[in-house]
């Protein structure tokens, strides 16, 4: 396994205990912990250079603007965007998807137009499209999931015959860990004349992503799942698409000129960044990107996959554990949802918490997928750079307590 054990010391949270036990944080798919480098970068910026951006002609404002735009540049470099102007800094992946769904959809969709989604999406890549469909009369169709927890690409082909305007798909399922084949999906969707939008909230923090090399048109991700702060995320979209998107928010900083009755918009990307942006958080995003670049996203991915393989191997020894997700490691990432016999995942999470193990329990903001799986809830373990096999061993051992308490 790629040895990243030296990184754990960068994360102050691991100096604490939880319920008297060392913290075993296995919920990075919900939000990751933050290294001291990110915290210090944000604090130093506030202490030495803080002011609003793109406003004042004074030194601090210029420094703040440079810091903010440097975050845009770092985000562009991280996903190999061809230009910084294709990077819109937003509140998070949810806002990024709402910007495309609302800003592109309301401007371009007509009654009867088709949007193709999938059954395995997070609510953030379902509800915005439902909203714009209701507003425009567009229709939604969803690519089915196969029994092996991957997408049914034959069904995608059938839906593409109906010439959808847009296909929106997750880069990595936040429940199943499934990695949809973006290259295949993107090529086929484009051949059918559709735009391709990717919810990268789980993919971008854990795998190298090169948008110049992918047949996709937009990508959404959040800083807080990739060692950065909450409150900031990225919408990347090709310039031709961004030119066809209306701003969903009006206000300061997004305008070119304003009269009492009308306004013209600022250039892209600023027209999509109304109001004072998350400036301090942008500094944190940049530092998180630099941190991950130093580790290397290839190493991050290898580390995640080694832990995933180890956990799946341990689970395979346990007949009372059911895993929901592909067993083929080439088709999945480091998110493992599971149940233990008839122990409800909330009960399991409470029991594991007493052992210092933090896992998510519930529907993980993917209720349609859970209905499809036939379970109301699952427990979920997910990884980041600070996890190791000890975390998994403690999780496995703690399952024994759940068995004992539930008389299994």
């Amino acid at each position: 396994m790629t040895d990243l054990s030296h990184l754990r010391a960068d994360f102050p949270i691991f100096s604490r205990t939880v319920n008297g036990q060392p913290l075993r944080f296995l919920d990075s798919a919900a939000s990751s912990q933050k290294p001291v480098q990110v915290l210090e970068a944000m604090e130093t910026f506030v202490r030495t250079s803080y002011a609003n951006v793109h406003r004042g002609a004074y030194t601090l404002s210029l420094e703040a603007t440079e810091a903010y735009e440097a975050a845009r540049h770092a985000a562009a470099r991280f996903i190999n965007a061809s230009t910084d102007t294709e990077i819109v800094l937003v509140r998070g992946a949810t806002t990024a998807l709402n910007t495309i769904a609302g800003g592109w959809g309301r401007r371009n969709l007509r009654p009867g137009d088709l949007i193709v989604l999938t059954e395995i999406e997070h609510h953030a890549n379902l509800v915005p499209w439902q909203m714009v469909a209701a507003q425009t009369g567009a229709q939604l169709a969803h690519v089915r999931m196969l029994a092996n927890y991957t997408l049914d690409l034959d069904h995608l082909d059938t839906l593409l015959e109906r010439s959808p305007r847009l296909v929106a798909v997750t880069g990595m399922s936040n429940v199943l860990g499934t990695l949809p084949p973006l290259r295949i999906i993107g090529e086929r969707a484009r051949a059918a004349g559709a735009l391709v939008v990717v919810d990268g909230a789980q993919l971008v923090p854990h795998f190298p992503v090169d948008v110049a090399d992918l047949p996709i048109d937009a990508l959404a991700f959040s800083a807080h799942k990739m060692l950065g702060p909450t409150g900031i995320g990225v919408l990347w979209a090709r310039m031709e698409l961004l030119e066809n998107v209306d701003p969903v928010e009006g206000g300061g900083e997004m305008i070119s000129d304003v009269t009492l009755d009308s306004a013209t918009w600022a250039a892209i990307p600023h027209r999509f960044e109304a109001g004072t942006p998350p400036i301090v958080e942008a500094v944190g995003l940049r530092r998180a990107v630099e941190y991950l670049e130093k580790v290397g996203m290839k190493a991050v991915a290898e580390h995640d996959m080694a832990l995933t393989a180890y956990l799946l191997d341990r689970f395979r020894e346990l007949p009372d554990v059911t895993v929901y997700g592909p067993s083929d490691l080439t088709q999945r990432g480091g998110v493992v949802s599971f149940t233990l016999a008839d122990v409800h995942p909330h009960d399991l999470a409470t029991i594991l918490d007493q052992h210092g193990v933090a896992v998510r329990a519930g529907h993980h903001c993917a209720k349609p997928l859970h209905r499809r799986l036939g379970v109301p809830a699952t427990a979920r373990a997910s990884f980041s750079v600070y996890n190791d096999t000890d975390d998994i061993d403690v999780l496995i051992e703690a399952l024994d307590e759940a068995r004992r308490l539930f008389g299994l």
């Binding site: 319920n19 008839d342 122990v343 409800h344 995942p345 909330h346 009960d347 409470t350 029991i351 007493q354 329990a361 519930g362 529907h363 209720k367 859970h370 109301p376 809830a377 307590e401 308490l405 539930f406 008389g407």
Partner: protein, 153 residues
């Protein structure tokens, strides 16, 4: 760790063999409760004849705490008057410390105070994040009673 207090045998018994799940014929009030954060669901049906609750059904899905609380509640409220059920609910909330009673839990001196099996849920108090699970069936029943009161006018 307190887990022993949380997962008592009687709780697991009600979780695995929930009582009163058959739909109520001609219910006089129904209510649905959900916890959107965790996905727990409770559906309550009651039939009052005069002031007495003569039939009750509580169905749903969720964790052992919400579902055992629902099952035990259904046993406790049968053949009770509206006022008695309201009182029971108040005392259950007091036991969960959501209404201030100085952390005293149940007041055994009060008439009809014995909550029976339901007292097994006292262990939930040590797990604040789970109190809402235990309360869900009771707040849903309150909604049904409110609807009942409306329709009775």
């Amino acid at each position: 760790m307190g887990l022993e207090d949380l997962y008592r045998e009687v709780i697991l018994d009600h979780y695995r063999s929930p009582r009163n799940r058959k739909p109520v014929a001609l219910p006089t009030a129904v209510a649905d409760g959900t916890n959107p954060l965790c996905g727990d669901e409770v559906h309550v049906e009651v039939r009052f004849e005069g002031d007495a609750l003569t039939a009750v059904s509580v169905t749903g899905q969720g964790c052992s705490i919400s579902q055992s609380s629902a099952s035990m509640m259904s046993e406790a409220v049968k053949n009770k008057s509206q006022a008695e059920i309201r009182d029971l609910t108040r005392r259950f909330k007091a036991m969960m410390d959501v209404e201030s009673n100085g952390g005293a839990g149940l007041d055994p001196g009060r008439p009809g105070a014995a909550l029976g099996d339901i007292e097994a849920l006292q262990g939930v108090r040590r797990f604040p994040v789970r109190i809402k699970c235990a309360l869900l069936p009771w707040t849903t029943l309150e909604q049904a009673l409110d609807g009942q009161a409306d329709s009775a006018v």
